[in-house]
Symmetry: C2
Subunit: 160 residues, 2 copies
């Protein structure tokens, strides 16, 4: 018979997680918390937020994209996207246009200021991964990325 734990653990590493340490959702959450922590440590001062920059970046690569498709591609709810885009509009980073062929839709593109914003921050944003301390060696890191890409159904694109 296995003895049950009789004394509470005194340090973080002594906390028993059991099967939780094999739960995909739990592992993803732990990794994400860790990453966010370092992201804000690294880039917090320049007022860059990951979700926000992702949207601007995708607008940069896909000028004229419809709002709904943008939301779908980044898995952001449409109602939330509306708010984000209005915020960008208020800051003069994004312009909206209603196309003639479908007057329900909204086509989005960066303004000149929006392009400048993305140009200014892209390097810091994308080089952040390399600055992040990690216990994985480069090969493991590449493998982790490849598996995640396959899992979420993203084909890695050529660098641009």
């Amino acid at each position: 018979m296995t003895r049950t734990i009789s004394r509470p653990p005194a340090t973080e590493n002594e906390v028993a997680l059991g099967d939780l340490s094999r739960s995909f959702g739990f592992l993803l959450r732990m990794a994400q918390v860790q990453i966010f922590e370092f992201f804000f440590e690294d880039l917090g001062q320049i007022g860059l937020r990951p979700g926000e920059f992702s949207v601007l970046w995708v607008l940069h690569l896909n000028p004229g994209i419809r709002q709904g498709l943008l939301a779908q591609a980044l898995r952001i709810k449409r109602a939330h996207m509306t708010k984000m885009i209005r915020n960008f509009e208020d800051r003069g980073l994004v312009a909206r246009a209603v196309p003639d062929d479908d007057r329900r839709a909204v086509e989005l593109r960066l303004t000149d200021a929006g392009v400048a914003f993305v140009d200014d921050h892209a390097k810091a944003f994308f080089s952040h991964d390399a600055r992040r301390p990690t216990p994985l060696d480069p090969q493991e890191q590449a493998q982790l990325f490849a598996l995640l890409q396959k899992y979420v159904g993203i084909t890695p694109e050529e660098r641009r």
Copy 2:
């Protein structure tokens, strides 16, 4: 000179993501959204939420653990943990005790009802991973888990 995209994409897969498809944070978020979607589809009806169950599970394995250590181990902010624990207390799942040797601290343990709750839901929770549809084969899945465990600094424990 590379031509810029002249026409907006019409389907999700035509949306260019560029370097974003190589961003660790972005990949983690996409994976997590996907997982949550299926989690609630699979287990939403029984009123189980992943964060909530994780806390109860860890209390099950570590009876008498201090609230702060619990929060630290699961990377939940202390202020938020206070609310979660009060909610559990209100539902009769968790009991709090102030130890004599440090009267600032709070030791937590499941009540009988809490133990019953965990027993009732553990199987559904932990078998969820296996039900989730995934494009990865078992070996890739195992590798992904191992890399994530290493990344977040969790040593997988013996099954219990």
